[in-house]
Amino acid sequence: MKIEVTLNGATVVDEVEPTLLAVDWIRENRRLTGTHVGCDTSQCGACTILLDGASVKSCTLLALSLDGRSVTTIEGLTVGRNDLHPMQAAFHEHHGLQCGFCTPGMIMRAVDIASQGGPLDETTVRHALEGNICRCTGYQNIVASVIAGAKTMNAATVGE
């Protein structure tokens, strides 16, 4: 079946099987391998993407359901910019990653958390990250990264 998706800012038309998962379409058909698969029960969040700006686990969606919608993957955060997205920069600055496998999903989730606006405290961020598992960092530096990244993102928004 045919789908038309705005993928990282570009229009993509593709033919997909009705059973194909969104994450497999992204990884296998579009070869955007930054979106990872870490489990088979929608628990870990390594496959998190933005769908019309909201974070979703792309292993819980069919590729068909992307039709007519806008998808941003980790690769899309730098599209149209010469530097890193503020949330990517914050993860680098605050050592918010170790092996890097959960990182794209964490960053996509963090972008969504930050885009909700409002001040972010540690408890709020920890609660909001509950659906993304990291086995390396103990979360402390991820939480610091999200708070810092959100600050930069929201300052930039205010400035516009």
Partner: protein
Amino acid sequence: MGEVIGIGAAPKRKEDQRFITGRGNYVADIKRADMSYGVFVRSPHAHATIDAIDKAPALAVPGVVGVFTGAEFAADGCGTLPCGWAITFKDGSPMKEPPFPALATGKVRFVGDAVAFVVGETLEAATAGAEALVVDYGLLPVVATLLQAAAPEAPLLYDDVPGNLCADWALGDEAATEAAFARAAHVSHVSLVNNRLVGNPMEPRAAVGEYNPGTGQYTLWSTSQFPHVVRLLMGMVLGIPQHKLRVVAPDVGGGFGVKQFHYGEEAVTTWAAGKLRRPVKWVSTRSEGFLADRHGRDHVTEAELALDENGKFLAMRVHTYANMGGYLSTFGPNIPTNLYGPLLSGVYVIPSIYCSVKCMFTNTAPVDAYRGAGRPEATFVVERLVDMAAHDLGLDRLEIRRRNMIPKSAYPYQTPVLVEYDSGDPLGCLEQATIKGDVAGFAARKAESARAGKFRGFGVSTYVEACGLAPSRFAGRLGARGGLYESATVRVHPTGQVTVLIGTHNHGQGHETTFAQIVSERLGVPFENVDIVFGDTDRVQFGMGTYGSRSLVVGGSALNKAADKVILKGKKIAAHLLEAAEQDITFEAGVFAVAGTDRKKTIEDIALAAYVPHDYPLEILEPGLEEQAYYDPVNFTYPGGAHLVEVEVDPETGVVEIVKYTACDDVGTVINPMIVEGQLHGGIVQGIGQALYENCVYDETSGQLLSGSFMDYCMPRADGVPKMDVSTYSTPCAHTPMGVKGCGEVGTIGSPAAVISAVVDALAHLGITHVDMPASPNRIWRIIQNASIPRAAE
């Protein structure tokens, strides 16, 4: 122009760029021309004979291109998976070492044991083929737990392994220990379970095998912590000569020990690629990982501590049953023996220790090293015993520790269980943690919690670790079937940039940054001009990989040694260029100079001259500026520390919340404090996971895995773990060139005992003296409900 960034600085990590932009290259990302996809058919039974396998229905599935069984693997001359350590019974006789087939033949011995490999044009075809395959099993009685395995008349996993006993291993002076117990004023006792864990790195295991019929070359891409060892072992299993076999472990998404073994899936995928003459890719699902990754821990222990009338330790006696699972994995028998018994002295003066370990076969997934590996188990025993002794004698838990700790002045300290600690100051660590953790303010905080209806508890753990595997001669005496050196090559390019080829493997530890700092400082070259290459047997000479906190200790020391050789060679070149005697050349901050003169050459000048010489004295000076070093440490290194924990227990729900966590760890010289802190955070939370959340459980009658997904196995999440206050307290290692000790596992070693100490303290007023892990809400709620003492706070 970049700057020199050396030891002790905290530059941001070089490796981050590709991970934060989604440009990492993990095995599951690899796509090769004409690639096919493989699925393992796994046993649904814990113990059964394989009576027949009918391949026809699988081969009839459209798109299936091959179905492979263990019988064919063996008929092709392929061997079984080797075990890297040979331990002995206490009488010196060898351990029982049954074969570990990559695909089961004759019998299956755990749920998830692989019996066949189905390959298809697509993953869907392979999956359908795997479902269509018909395997006839003959069910056998199941041995799912340690105590079942040890029971008289227990069903046997192997006809020639009586009592399911792989080895009855022992360490220490039994007679001296008995004598000390006989004259003790007091004996404290604890019986405990060290719960079984699943490592769960976030990247599931994966393998891509490829065969080039034109060259006879095999390539395996694997999620491995040690590609060279996989090449060595898999070459033996498959009969492929080393020069025809390349193993690449590209970006690997976490290891924690789970990815350091040679797995059957690697061998089968590579072999199948050769049979089919096309690339084969296998990617584990998470559920498959729960079944078939190596598990960790799983001990049942009885332990006793003998004390004199002043609370001084006299002797310790420990009897442990350790689970091997259904087969012996690469390091399996080494973990509950050599990495456990020698750590039972902890940070204390204990004149005699006796430890016996019965390593048992059971119908469960093989058990092997998982972060900490043996040392968290030992620390848990020691620290629970010490807490129990404090309780029994009415002593403060910090006081009994202070009274028995090895004083700083006593280092180097020879323990009664083989190892000699070169350096350390446990009392210094404890005092620093006590101050930072505001122990003095605990009573007030406890009262505050009580007003809110919560039980607040304080916990402590002090520990030592042996890491940096290994002094090869020592390892050989303990049963290692190979030495454990590490290698590094420092290649200075003609224009002065540096590529390092190193045998360790970076899967989150930040080697690309830390090792570059070492080179930047030693050679005086800009940090940005140093690249670290690892994980590819065709690029890197040799290496033992990354595990046991050995990368910096052994690999970093090899790198340091190779840098020494580069400087030495550079001095020869400088002597030639500057027309001076070699012994008159000095080297500092990237500059070679003739001592006492202003004549000098930078390392860039030297490098260019080294590669494009016009007038070299070739008979005494070879062109090039590339040096290789192998390093073997003279001893383990012994990081240690003190962890203090405060918990609040909600008596209504049984939920334990860690409300304060203070760690002070002695990891020797710190190269990059930011990276060390990150390692400590991650390690501590992995230990908290064991203490509060994680539990790998098999059904006792069927041997079915009950905790088989993230739905059932409780991984620590961001909202369930505390903000930690970690700090370091450095006593440099006496024998490593830079004084480094290793830091990857200390958090996981120190934290479980500290958390349980705090939980027990919170419940002490109910008469509780021990709680097994994990201290889950259900378990704690039941303890509170069943307590004989009224349960009001205070």
